[in-house]
Symmetry: C2
Subunit: 282 residues, 2 copies
Amino acid sequence: MARPVVRISESAGFCFGVERALATTLEAVEDAPEPVNTLGPLIHNPSVIADLKGKGVGVVSDPSEARAGTVILRSHGVPREMRQQLSASGLTIIDATCPFVTSAQEKAARLHKDGYLVVILGEREHPEVLALRSYAGEQSLVVESPADLPSELPSRRIGVVVQTTQSHERLAELVAHLAPRVRELLVHNTICSATEQRQAAAITMATTVDAVVVVGGRNSANTRRLAELCRDRQPRTYHVESEAELDPAWFRGARVVGVTAGASTPPDQIEQVVRTIEEIET
Amino acid sequence: MARPVVRISESAGFCFGVERALATTLEAVEDAPEPVNTLGPLIHNPSVIADLKGKGVGVVSDPSEARAGTVILRSHGVPREMRQQLSASGLTIIDATCPFVTSAQEKAARLHKDGYLVVILGEREHPEVLALRSYAGEQSLVVESPADLPSELPSRRIGVVVQTTQSHERLAELVAHLAPRVRELLVHNTICSATEQRQAAAITMATTVDAVVVVGGRNSANTRRLAELCRDRQPRTYHVESEAELDPAWFRGARVVGVTAGASTPPDQIEQVVRTIEEIET
Protein backbone atom coordinates (compact mmCIF):
# COMPACT_ATOMS: atom_id res chain seq x y z
CA MET A 1 0.00 0.00 0.00
CA ALA A 2 1.32 3.45 -0.92
CA ARG A 3 0.05 6.97 -0.68
CA PRO A 4 0.15 9.28 -3.69
CA VAL A 5 2.29 12.36 -3.99
CA VAL A 6 0.22 15.42 -4.86
CA ARG A 7 1.49 17.99 -7.31
CA ILE A 8 -0.38 21.31 -7.24
CA SER A 9 -0.42 23.09 -10.57
CA GLU A 10 0.93 26.64 -10.78
CA SER A 11 -1.63 29.43 -10.95
CA ALA A 12 -4.33 27.17 -9.47
CA GLY A 13 -7.18 28.91 -7.70
CA PHE A 14 -8.21 32.51 -7.07
CA CYS A 15 -7.46 35.04 -9.77
CA PHE A 16 -7.11 38.78 -9.42
CA GLY A 17 -10.73 39.47 -10.45
CA VAL A 18 -12.17 37.04 -7.91
CA GLU A 19 -9.94 38.25 -5.07
CA ARG A 20 -10.91 41.81 -5.89
CA ALA A 21 -14.63 40.96 -5.98
CA LEU A 22 -14.41 39.21 -2.61
CA ALA A 23 -12.42 42.02 -0.99
CA THR A 24 -14.86 44.58 -2.37
CA THR A 25 -17.79 42.63 -0.97
CA LEU A 26 -16.26 42.18 2.46
CA GLU A 27 -15.58 45.92 2.62
CA ALA A 28 -19.19 46.58 1.66
CA VAL A 29 -20.37 44.44 4.55
CA GLU A 30 -18.51 46.81 6.88
CA ASP A 31 -19.31 50.15 5.28
CA ALA A 32 -22.16 50.11 2.81
CA PRO A 33 -25.88 50.68 3.46
CA GLU A 34 -27.69 47.49 4.48
CA PRO A 35 -28.97 45.13 3.29
CA VAL A 36 -26.03 44.12 1.05
CA ASN A 37 -26.98 41.91 -1.90
CA THR A 38 -25.08 40.68 -4.90
CA LEU A 39 -26.88 40.56 -8.23
CA GLY A 40 -26.52 36.85 -8.96
CA PRO A 41 -23.91 34.82 -7.08
CA LEU A 42 -20.72 36.90 -6.70
CA ILE A 43 -18.54 34.09 -8.03
CA HIS A 44 -19.31 30.52 -9.13
CA ASN A 45 -18.39 28.73 -5.93
CA PRO A 46 -21.17 27.43 -3.66
CA SER A 47 -19.03 27.29 -0.50
CA VAL A 48 -17.88 30.89 -0.90
CA ILE A 49 -21.46 32.01 -1.44
CA ALA A 50 -22.56 30.12 1.70
CA ASP A 51 -19.73 31.81 3.59
CA LEU A 52 -20.81 35.25 2.40
CA LYS A 53 -24.40 34.49 3.36
CA GLY A 54 -23.15 33.85 6.91
CA LYS A 55 -21.63 37.33 6.82
CA GLY A 56 -24.92 38.91 5.80
CA VAL A 57 -24.48 39.10 2.03
CA GLY A 58 -27.61 38.04 0.19
CA VAL A 59 -28.18 37.22 -3.46
CA VAL A 60 -30.91 38.74 -5.63
CA SER A 61 -31.47 37.44 -9.13
CA ASP A 62 -33.10 40.56 -10.55
CA PRO A 63 -32.62 44.29 -9.89
CA SER A 64 -36.31 44.59 -8.97
CA GLU A 65 -35.79 42.30 -5.98
CA ALA A 66 -33.40 44.78 -4.36
CA ARG A 67 -35.52 47.47 -2.70
CA ALA A 68 -33.01 49.09 -0.38
CA GLY A 69 -29.39 49.17 0.66
CA THR A 70 -26.52 48.06 -1.54
CA VAL A 71 -26.29 45.99 -4.71
CA ILE A 72 -22.95 44.52 -5.71
CA LEU A 73 -22.37 43.82 -9.40
CA ARG A 74 -20.60 40.50 -9.54
CA SER A 75 -17.27 39.59 -11.13
CA HIS A 76 -18.88 38.34 -14.37
CA GLY A 77 -20.50 41.70 -15.04
CA VAL A 78 -24.19 42.43 -15.64
CA PRO A 79 -26.11 43.24 -18.82
CA ARG A 80 -26.19 46.90 -19.78
CA GLU A 81 -29.96 47.25 -19.28
CA MET A 82 -29.75 45.90 -15.72
CA ARG A 83 -26.93 48.29 -14.93
CA GLN A 84 -29.03 51.18 -16.24
CA GLN A 85 -32.05 50.00 -14.27
CA LEU A 86 -29.95 49.87 -11.10
CA SER A 87 -28.38 53.27 -11.71
CA ALA A 88 -31.87 54.76 -11.83
CA SER A 89 -33.00 52.93 -8.67
CA GLY A 90 -31.37 55.14 -6.05
CA LEU A 91 -29.71 52.12 -4.40
CA THR A 92 -25.99 52.10 -3.61
CA ILE A 93 -24.25 50.25 -6.44
CA ILE A 94 -20.80 48.71 -6.00
CA ASP A 95 -19.17 47.42 -9.13
CA ALA A 96 -17.14 44.26 -8.54
CA THR A 97 -16.97 43.37 -12.23
CA CYS A 98 -13.54 41.97 -13.07
CA PRO A 99 -11.66 44.72 -14.94
CA PHE A 100 -10.74 42.23 -17.66
CA VAL A 101 -14.43 41.51 -18.16
CA THR A 102 -15.18 45.24 -18.34
CA SER A 103 -12.46 45.59 -20.95
CA ALA A 104 -14.01 42.81 -23.05
CA GLN A 105 -17.40 44.56 -22.79
CA GLU A 106 -15.86 47.82 -24.01
CA LYS A 107 -14.26 46.02 -26.95
CA ALA A 108 -17.57 44.38 -27.87
CA ALA A 109 -19.32 47.76 -27.77
CA ARG A 110 -16.61 49.32 -29.91
CA LEU A 111 -16.77 46.55 -32.52
CA HIS A 112 -20.54 46.93 -32.71
CA LYS A 113 -20.24 50.71 -33.05
CA ASP A 114 -17.65 50.28 -35.82
CA GLY A 115 -20.07 48.15 -37.83
CA TYR A 116 -18.64 44.70 -37.24
CA LEU A 117 -20.91 41.74 -36.71
CA VAL A 118 -19.77 40.60 -33.26
CA VAL A 119 -19.14 36.92 -32.64
CA ILE A 120 -18.71 36.00 -28.98
CA LEU A 121 -16.81 32.81 -28.23
CA GLY A 122 -18.35 31.59 -24.99
CA GLU A 123 -21.12 29.72 -23.25
CA ARG A 124 -24.49 31.07 -24.29
CA GLU A 125 -26.08 31.05 -20.83
CA HIS A 126 -23.06 32.08 -18.77
CA PRO A 127 -23.61 35.40 -16.97
CA GLU A 128 -20.36 36.85 -18.33
CA VAL A 129 -21.52 36.09 -21.86
CA LEU A 130 -25.05 37.40 -21.25
CA ALA A 131 -23.52 40.66 -20.05
CA LEU A 132 -21.02 40.77 -22.91
CA ARG A 133 -23.78 40.23 -25.43
CA SER A 134 -25.69 43.25 -24.18
CA TYR A 135 -22.81 45.37 -25.47
CA ALA A 136 -22.33 43.50 -28.74
CA GLY A 137 -25.54 44.42 -30.54
CA GLU A 138 -28.76 42.60 -31.31
CA GLN A 139 -27.27 40.76 -34.29
CA SER A 140 -24.32 39.37 -32.37
CA LEU A 141 -23.74 35.63 -32.33
CA VAL A 142 -22.65 33.48 -29.41
CA VAL A 143 -20.75 30.33 -30.36
CA GLU A 144 -18.95 27.62 -28.44
CA SER A 145 -17.36 26.16 -31.57
CA PRO A 146 -17.36 26.73 -35.33
CA ALA A 147 -20.26 24.24 -35.59
CA ASP A 148 -22.49 26.91 -34.02
CA LEU A 149 -21.81 29.40 -36.81
CA PRO A 150 -24.60 29.83 -39.36
CA SER A 151 -23.84 28.38 -42.81
CA GLU A 152 -24.28 31.85 -44.31
CA LEU A 153 -22.60 34.58 -42.30
CA PRO A 154 -24.72 37.75 -42.35
CA SER A 155 -21.63 39.96 -42.67
CA ARG A 156 -18.20 39.87 -44.29
CA ARG A 157 -16.78 42.05 -41.48
CA ILE A 158 -16.59 40.09 -38.25
CA GLY A 159 -15.35 41.12 -34.83
CA VAL A 160 -14.57 38.50 -32.20
CA VAL A 161 -14.49 38.84 -28.42
CA VAL A 162 -13.95 35.95 -26.07
CA GLN A 163 -15.31 34.98 -22.68
CA THR A 164 -12.26 35.62 -20.47
CA THR A 165 -12.07 31.99 -19.35
CA GLN A 166 -12.17 30.26 -22.75
CA SER A 167 -9.24 28.20 -23.99
CA HIS A 168 -6.81 29.25 -26.69
CA GLU A 169 -7.47 26.01 -28.50
CA ARG A 170 -11.09 26.99 -29.01
CA LEU A 171 -10.12 30.48 -30.13
CA ALA A 172 -7.65 29.06 -32.68
CA GLU A 173 -10.31 26.73 -34.02
CA LEU A 174 -12.88 29.53 -34.36
CA VAL A 175 -10.65 32.04 -36.16
CA ALA A 176 -9.39 29.33 -38.52
CA HIS A 177 -13.00 28.82 -39.59
CA LEU A 178 -13.89 32.51 -39.76
CA ALA A 179 -10.93 34.08 -41.58
CA PRO A 180 -11.46 32.30 -44.91
CA ARG A 181 -15.17 33.21 -44.91
CA VAL A 182 -14.89 36.97 -44.41
CA ARG A 183 -13.08 39.98 -45.84
CA GLU A 184 -12.12 41.40 -42.46
CA LEU A 185 -11.74 39.74 -39.09
CA LEU A 186 -10.85 41.74 -35.98
CA VAL A 187 -10.12 39.43 -33.07
CA HIS A 188 -9.83 40.75 -29.53
CA ASN A 189 -8.22 37.93 -27.61
CA THR A 190 -9.85 38.75 -24.29
CA ILE A 191 -8.89 35.48 -22.63
CA CYS A 192 -7.40 36.75 -19.39
CA SER A 193 -3.76 36.06 -18.69
CA ALA A 194 -4.52 34.30 -15.40
CA THR A 195 -6.77 31.87 -17.30
CA GLU A 196 -4.07 31.47 -19.90
CA GLN A 197 -1.38 30.69 -17.32
CA ARG A 198 -3.62 28.43 -15.27
CA GLN A 199 -4.59 26.44 -18.36
CA ALA A 200 -1.04 26.21 -19.68
CA ALA A 201 0.26 24.99 -16.31
CA ALA A 202 -2.58 22.48 -15.97
CA ILE A 203 -1.94 21.10 -19.47
CA THR A 204 1.75 20.60 -18.69
CA MET A 205 0.92 19.00 -15.34
CA ALA A 206 -1.71 16.67 -16.81
CA THR A 207 0.85 15.02 -19.07
CA THR A 208 3.20 14.17 -16.18
CA VAL A 209 0.87 12.70 -13.53
CA ASP A 210 -1.16 9.51 -13.14
CA ALA A 211 -4.48 11.24 -12.34
CA VAL A 212 -5.80 14.80 -12.12
CA VAL A 213 -8.28 16.38 -9.73
CA VAL A 214 -9.80 19.71 -10.69
CA VAL A 215 -11.38 21.58 -7.79
CA GLY A 216 -14.13 24.14 -8.25
CA GLY A 217 -17.82 24.88 -8.61
CA ARG A 218 -19.65 22.77 -11.15
CA ASN A 219 -21.27 26.03 -12.32
CA SER A 220 -17.81 27.55 -12.85
CA ALA A 221 -17.10 27.75 -16.59
CA ASN A 222 -13.37 28.19 -16.17
CA THR A 223 -13.17 25.16 -13.84
CA ARG A 224 -15.06 23.01 -16.32
CA ARG A 225 -12.78 24.19 -19.14
CA LEU A 226 -9.77 23.30 -17.02
CA ALA A 227 -11.14 19.79 -16.46
CA GLU A 228 -11.80 19.44 -20.17
CA LEU A 229 -8.23 20.47 -21.10
CA CYS A 230 -6.73 18.09 -18.52
CA ARG A 231 -8.98 15.21 -19.61
CA ASP A 232 -7.75 15.58 -23.21
CA ARG A 233 -4.25 14.77 -21.89
CA GLN A 234 -5.06 12.53 -18.94
CA PRO A 235 -8.30 10.53 -19.13
CA ARG A 236 -8.18 9.95 -15.35
CA THR A 237 -9.32 13.51 -14.66
CA TYR A 238 -12.01 14.24 -12.05
CA HIS A 239 -13.87 17.48 -11.31
CA VAL A 240 -14.94 17.89 -7.67
CA GLU A 241 -16.41 20.70 -5.62
CA SER A 242 -14.97 19.43 -2.34
CA GLU A 243 -12.95 16.63 -0.76
CA ALA A 244 -16.18 14.81 0.15
CA GLU A 245 -16.59 13.73 -3.47
CA LEU A 246 -13.17 12.08 -3.81
CA ASP A 247 -13.42 8.34 -4.58
CA PRO A 248 -10.34 6.27 -3.63
CA ALA A 249 -11.03 4.00 -6.62
CA TRP A 250 -10.03 6.85 -8.94
CA PHE A 251 -6.45 6.72 -7.71
CA ARG A 252 -5.73 2.98 -7.87
CA GLY A 253 -2.04 2.54 -8.72
CA ALA A 254 -1.49 6.29 -9.07
CA ARG A 255 1.83 7.46 -7.72
CA VAL A 256 1.52 11.12 -8.58
CA VAL A 257 -1.79 13.01 -8.56
CA GLY A 258 -2.03 16.49 -10.03
CA VAL A 259 -4.39 19.08 -8.55
CA THR A 260 -5.55 22.29 -10.11
CA ALA A 261 -8.45 24.63 -9.34
CA GLY A 262 -10.59 27.24 -11.06
CA ALA A 263 -10.37 30.99 -10.57
CA SER A 264 -13.23 30.95 -8.06
CA THR A 265 -11.89 28.18 -5.83
CA PRO A 266 -10.67 29.41 -2.44
CA PRO A 267 -7.27 28.27 -1.14
CA ASP A 268 -8.67 26.32 1.85
CA GLN A 269 -10.87 24.26 -0.46
CA ILE A 270 -7.84 23.28 -2.54
CA GLU A 271 -5.89 22.48 0.60
CA GLN A 272 -8.58 20.16 1.97
CA VAL A 273 -8.72 18.24 -1.29
CA VAL A 274 -4.93 17.89 -1.35
CA ARG A 275 -4.78 16.67 2.24
CA THR A 276 -7.51 14.09 1.60
CA ILE A 277 -5.79 12.71 -1.51
CA GLU A 278 -2.52 12.39 0.38
CA GLU A 279 -4.24 10.06 2.87
CA ILE A 280 -5.69 7.72 0.24
CA GLU A 281 -4.09 4.28 -0.01
CA THR A 282 -3.62 3.45 -3.67
CA MET B 1 -6.70 1.57 -76.36
CA ALA B 2 -8.88 4.47 -75.26
CA ARG B 3 -8.63 8.22 -75.21
CA PRO B 4 -9.34 10.19 -72.05
CA VAL B 5 -12.21 12.56 -71.57
CA VAL B 6 -11.02 16.00 -70.47
CA ARG B 7 -12.92 17.97 -67.86
CA ILE B 8 -12.01 21.67 -67.69
CA SER B 9 -12.39 23.18 -64.25
CA GLU B 10 -14.63 26.21 -63.79
CA SER B 11 -12.90 29.58 -63.40
CA ALA B 12 -9.72 28.22 -65.01
CA GLY B 13 -7.45 30.78 -66.65
CA PHE B 14 -7.42 34.55 -67.02
CA CYS B 15 -8.74 36.61 -64.17
CA PHE B 16 -10.06 40.15 -64.23
CA GLY B 17 -6.72 41.70 -63.16
CA VAL B 18 -4.74 39.89 -65.85
CA GLU B 19 -7.25 40.67 -68.61
CA ARG B 20 -7.21 44.31 -67.55
CA ALA B 21 -3.39 44.44 -67.50
CA LEU B 22 -3.20 42.94 -71.00
CA ALA B 23 -5.88 45.23 -72.42
CA THR B 24 -4.15 48.25 -70.85
CA THR B 25 -0.83 47.21 -72.38
CA LEU B 26 -2.26 46.61 -75.84
CA GLU B 27 -3.87 50.05 -75.72
CA ALA B 28 -0.55 51.57 -74.70
CA VAL B 29 1.10 49.98 -77.76
CA GLU B 30 -1.34 51.97 -79.91
CA ASP B 31 -1.43 55.27 -78.11
CA ALA B 32 1.39 55.80 -75.59
CA PRO B 33 4.83 57.35 -76.21
CA GLU B 34 7.39 54.80 -77.45
CA PRO B 35 9.23 52.79 -76.41
CA VAL B 36 6.70 50.91 -74.25
CA ASN B 37 8.23 48.84 -71.46
CA THR B 38 6.74 46.94 -68.55
CA LEU B 39 8.56 47.08 -65.22
CA GLY B 40 9.19 43.38 -64.73
CA PRO B 41 7.17 40.84 -66.77
CA LEU B 42 3.55 42.06 -67.03
CA ILE B 43 2.18 38.70 -65.89
CA HIS B 44 3.86 35.39 -65.04
CA ASN B 45 3.40 33.66 -68.37
CA PRO B 46 6.40 33.28 -70.72
CA SER B 47 4.33 32.79 -73.88
CA VAL B 48 2.28 35.92 -73.25
CA ILE B 49 5.47 37.92 -72.61
CA ALA B 50 6.98 36.59 -75.88
CA ASP B 51 3.78 37.60 -77.65
CA LEU B 52 3.93 41.11 -76.22
CA LYS B 53 7.59 41.38 -77.24
CA GLY B 54 6.53 40.67 -80.82
CA LYS B 55 4.14 43.61 -80.50
CA GLY B 56 6.94 45.91 -79.36
CA VAL B 57 6.49 45.74 -75.57
CA GLY B 58 9.82 45.41 -73.80
CA VAL B 59 10.63 44.52 -70.21
CA VAL B 60 12.89 46.54 -67.92
CA SER B 61 13.82 45.18 -64.52
CA ASP B 62 14.59 48.52 -62.87
CA PRO B 63 13.15 52.05 -63.29
CA SER B 64 16.64 53.36 -64.16
CA GLU B 65 16.69 51.21 -67.32
CA ALA B 66 13.72 53.07 -68.78
CA ARG B 67 15.04 56.33 -70.24
CA ALA B 68 12.18 57.40 -72.48
CA GLY B 69 8.63 56.61 -73.52
CA THR B 70 6.19 54.66 -71.39
CA VAL B 71 6.54 52.39 -68.37
CA ILE B 72 3.71 50.05 -67.48
CA LEU B 73 3.38 48.97 -63.85
CA ARG B 74 2.54 45.29 -63.94
CA SER B 75 -0.42 43.44 -62.43
CA HIS B 76 1.50 42.46 -59.27
CA GLY B 77 2.21 46.08 -58.38
CA VAL B 78 5.58 47.69 -57.69
CA PRO B 79 7.26 48.75 -54.45
CA ARG B 80 6.40 52.24 -53.25
CA GLU B 81 9.94 53.59 -53.71
CA MET B 82 10.04 52.46 -57.37
CA ARG B 83 6.69 54.09 -58.01
CA GLN B 84 7.98 57.33 -56.50
CA GLN B 85 11.19 57.11 -58.54
CA LEU B 86 9.15 56.65 -61.71
CA SER B 87 6.75 59.49 -60.87
CA ALA B 88 9.75 61.81 -60.65
CA SER B 89 11.27 60.55 -63.92
CA GLY B 90 9.10 62.43 -66.38
CA LEU B 91 8.24 59.20 -68.24
CA THR B 92 4.65 58.26 -69.06
CA ILE B 93 3.47 55.86 -66.36
CA ILE B 94 0.55 53.51 -66.93
CA ASP B 95 -0.66 51.62 -63.89
CA ALA B 96 -1.80 48.08 -64.69
CA THR B 97 -1.68 46.94 -61.08
CA CYS B 98 -4.61 44.65 -60.34
CA PRO B 99 -7.13 46.70 -58.31
CA PHE B 100 -7.34 43.89 -55.75
CA VAL B 101 -3.58 44.11 -55.27
CA THR B 102 -3.83 47.88 -54.86
CA SER B 103 -6.51 47.36 -52.25
CA ALA B 104 -4.26 44.96 -50.31
CA GLN B 105 -1.45 47.54 -50.43
CA GLU B 106 -3.78 50.20 -49.02
CA LYS B 107 -4.81 47.86 -46.21
CA ALA B 108 -1.19 47.07 -45.37
CA ALA B 109 -0.37 50.80 -45.25
CA ARG B 110 -3.38 51.46 -43.03
CA LEU B 111 -2.48 48.67 -40.59
CA HIS B 112 1.07 50.00 -40.36
CA LYS B 113 -0.20 53.55 -39.79
CA ASP B 114 -2.55 52.29 -37.06
CA GLY B 115 0.36 50.74 -35.17
CA TYR B 116 -0.15 47.07 -35.98
CA LEU B 117 2.80 44.84 -36.69
CA VAL B 118 1.97 43.67 -40.21
CA VAL B 119 2.30 39.99 -41.08
CA ILE B 120 2.08 39.22 -44.79
CA LEU B 121 1.07 35.71 -45.77
CA GLY B 122 2.85 35.13 -49.06
CA GLU B 123 5.99 34.15 -50.91
CA ARG B 124 8.90 36.27 -49.78
CA GLU B 125 10.41 36.88 -53.23
CA HIS B 126 7.21 37.21 -55.22
CA PRO B 127 6.85 40.68 -56.81
CA GLU B 128 3.35 41.15 -55.37
CA VAL B 129 4.71 40.48 -51.89
CA LEU B 130 7.78 42.71 -52.38
CA ALA B 131 5.44 45.54 -53.39
CA LEU B 132 3.03 44.81 -50.55
CA ARG B 133 5.86 44.84 -48.03
CA SER B 134 6.91 48.33 -49.08
CA TYR B 135 3.58 49.54 -47.67
CA ALA B 136 3.65 47.41 -44.53
CA GLY B 137 6.53 49.01 -42.65
CA GLU B 138 10.12 48.02 -41.98
CA GLN B 139 9.17 45.69 -39.13
CA SER B 140 6.67 43.72 -41.16
CA LEU B 141 7.07 39.96 -41.45
CA VAL B 142 6.54 37.79 -44.50
CA VAL B 143 5.55 34.21 -43.78
CA GLU B 144 4.49 31.25 -45.86
CA SER B 145 3.38 29.24 -42.86
CA PRO B 146 3.26 29.54 -39.05
CA ALA B 147 6.70 27.88 -38.94
CA ASP B 148 8.16 31.13 -40.32
CA LEU B 149 6.88 33.18 -37.36
CA PRO B 150 9.47 34.16 -34.76
CA SER B 151 9.14 32.34 -31.44
CA GLU B 152 8.68 35.71 -29.70
CA LEU B 153 6.33 38.04 -31.55
CA PRO B 154 7.56 41.64 -31.28
CA SER B 155 4.01 42.95 -30.86
CA ARG B 156 0.72 41.89 -29.25
CA ARG B 157 -1.22 43.78 -31.95
CA ILE B 158 -0.92 42.05 -35.29
CA GLY B 159 -2.43 42.93 -38.65
CA VAL B 160 -2.53 40.37 -41.44
CA VAL B 161 -2.73 40.91 -45.19
CA VAL B 162 -2.54 38.13 -47.73
CA GLN B 163 -1.01 37.77 -51.17
CA THR B 164 -4.12 37.72 -53.38
CA THR B 165 -3.37 34.23 -54.72
CA GLN B 166 -2.79 32.38 -51.45
CA SER B 167 -5.08 29.57 -50.36
CA HIS B 168 -7.67 29.78 -47.61
CA GLU B 169 -6.17 26.70 -46.00
CA ARG B 170 -2.93 28.57 -45.39
CA LEU B 171 -4.76 31.61 -44.07
CA ALA B 172 -6.74 29.47 -41.62
CA GLU B 173 -3.56 27.81 -40.41
CA LEU B 174 -1.81 31.15 -39.88
CA VAL B 175 -4.59 32.88 -37.95
CA ALA B 176 -5.09 29.80 -35.77
CA HIS B 177 -1.47 30.18 -34.69
CA LEU B 178 -1.56 33.94 -34.28
CA ALA B 179 -4.81 34.59 -32.40
CA PRO B 180 -3.80 32.81 -29.18
CA ARG B 181 -0.47 34.63 -29.08
CA VAL B 182 -1.71 38.22 -29.36
CA ARG B 183 -4.23 40.57 -27.75
CA GLU B 184 -5.55 41.89 -31.05
CA LEU B 185 -5.52 40.41 -34.51
CA LEU B 186 -6.91 42.29 -37.50
CA VAL B 187 -7.05 40.06 -40.55
CA HIS B 188 -7.72 41.48 -44.00
CA ASN B 189 -8.55 38.48 -46.11
CA THR B 190 -7.22 39.89 -49.38
CA ILE B 191 -7.33 36.59 -51.23
CA CYS B 192 -9.14 37.61 -54.41
CA SER B 193 -12.46 36.01 -55.19
CA ALA B 194 -11.31 34.75 -58.59
CA THR B 195 -8.49 32.87 -56.84
CA GLU B 196 -10.96 31.59 -54.30
CA GLN B 197 -13.38 30.32 -56.95
CA ARG B 198 -10.65 28.86 -59.15
CA GLN B 199 -9.16 26.99 -56.19
CA ALA B 200 -12.51 25.75 -54.92
CA ALA B 201 -13.48 24.45 -58.36
CA ALA B 202 -10.07 22.79 -58.86
CA ILE B 203 -10.29 21.07 -55.47
CA THR B 204 -13.72 19.67 -56.32
CA MET B 205 -12.54 18.57 -59.74
CA ALA B 206 -9.36 16.92 -58.43
CA THR B 207 -11.37 14.49 -56.33
CA THR B 208 -13.44 13.26 -59.28
CA VAL B 209 -10.84 12.63 -62.02
CA ASP B 210 -8.02 10.14 -62.61
CA ALA B 211 -5.30 12.74 -63.26
CA VAL B 212 -4.99 16.52 -63.21
CA VAL B 213 -3.05 18.87 -65.48
CA VAL B 214 -2.46 22.42 -64.27
CA VAL B 215 -1.47 24.82 -67.04
CA GLY B 216 0.51 27.98 -66.39
CA GLY B 217 3.89 29.64 -65.94
CA ARG B 218 6.23 27.90 -63.56
CA ASN B 219 6.94 31.39 -62.15
CA SER B 220 3.22 31.90 -61.52
CA ALA B 221 2.53 31.65 -57.78
CA ASN B 222 -1.19 31.12 -58.19
CA THR B 223 -0.63 28.33 -60.72
CA ARG B 224 1.80 26.58 -58.38
CA ARG B 225 -0.67 26.92 -55.50
CA LEU B 226 -3.38 25.42 -57.71
CA ALA B 227 -1.12 22.45 -58.50
CA GLU B 228 -0.35 22.02 -54.80
CA LEU B 229 -4.05 22.02 -53.84
CA CYS B 230 -4.89 19.51 -56.58
CA ARG B 231 -1.94 17.26 -55.69
CA ASP B 232 -3.19 17.04 -52.09
CA ARG B 233 -6.36 15.43 -53.47
CA GLN B 234 -5.02 13.67 -56.57
CA PRO B 235 -1.34 12.59 -56.50
CA ARG B 236 -1.36 12.28 -60.30
CA THR B 237 -1.23 16.05 -60.74
CA TYR B 238 1.13 17.63 -63.29
CA HIS B 239 2.06 21.29 -63.79
CA VAL B 240 2.93 22.21 -67.39
CA GLU B 241 3.59 25.44 -69.25
CA SER B 242 2.50 24.06 -72.60
CA GLU B 243 1.28 20.93 -74.38
CA ALA B 244 4.88 20.11 -75.40
CA GLU B 245 5.60 18.94 -71.85
CA LEU B 246 2.75 16.41 -71.64
CA ASP B 247 4.00 12.87 -71.12
CA PRO B 248 1.56 10.11 -72.25
CA ALA B 249 2.87 7.90 -69.43
CA TRP B 250 1.17 10.22 -66.92
CA PHE B 251 -2.25 9.22 -68.18
CA ARG B 252 -1.95 5.42 -68.30
CA GLY B 253 -5.36 3.97 -67.50
CA ALA B 254 -6.87 7.40 -66.91
CA ARG B 255 -10.40 7.73 -68.19
CA VAL B 256 -11.10 11.28 -67.07
CA VAL B 257 -8.41 13.96 -66.94
CA GLY B 258 -9.09 17.29 -65.22
CA VAL B 259 -7.53 20.49 -66.49
CA THR B 260 -7.25 23.81 -64.71
CA ALA B 261 -5.09 26.86 -65.29
CA GLY B 262 -3.69 29.83 -63.40
CA ALA B 263 -4.89 33.42 -63.61
CA SER B 264 -2.15 34.30 -66.11
CA THR B 265 -2.75 31.43 -68.52
CA PRO B 266 -4.30 32.50 -71.84
CA PRO B 267 -7.29 30.59 -73.25
CA ASP B 268 -5.45 29.30 -76.34
CA GLN B 269 -2.76 27.74 -74.17
CA ILE B 270 -5.40 25.84 -72.18
CA GLU B 271 -7.10 24.77 -75.38
CA GLN B 272 -3.91 23.35 -76.90
CA VAL B 273 -3.23 21.32 -73.76
CA VAL B 274 -6.78 19.98 -73.75
CA ARG B 275 -6.62 18.99 -77.43
CA THR B 276 -3.31 17.21 -76.94
CA ILE B 277 -4.55 15.22 -73.94
CA GLU B 278 -7.65 14.18 -75.89
CA GLU B 279 -5.40 12.57 -78.51
CA ILE B 280 -3.32 10.53 -76.05
CA GLU B 281 -3.95 6.79 -76.03
CA THR B 282 -4.15 5.61 -72.46
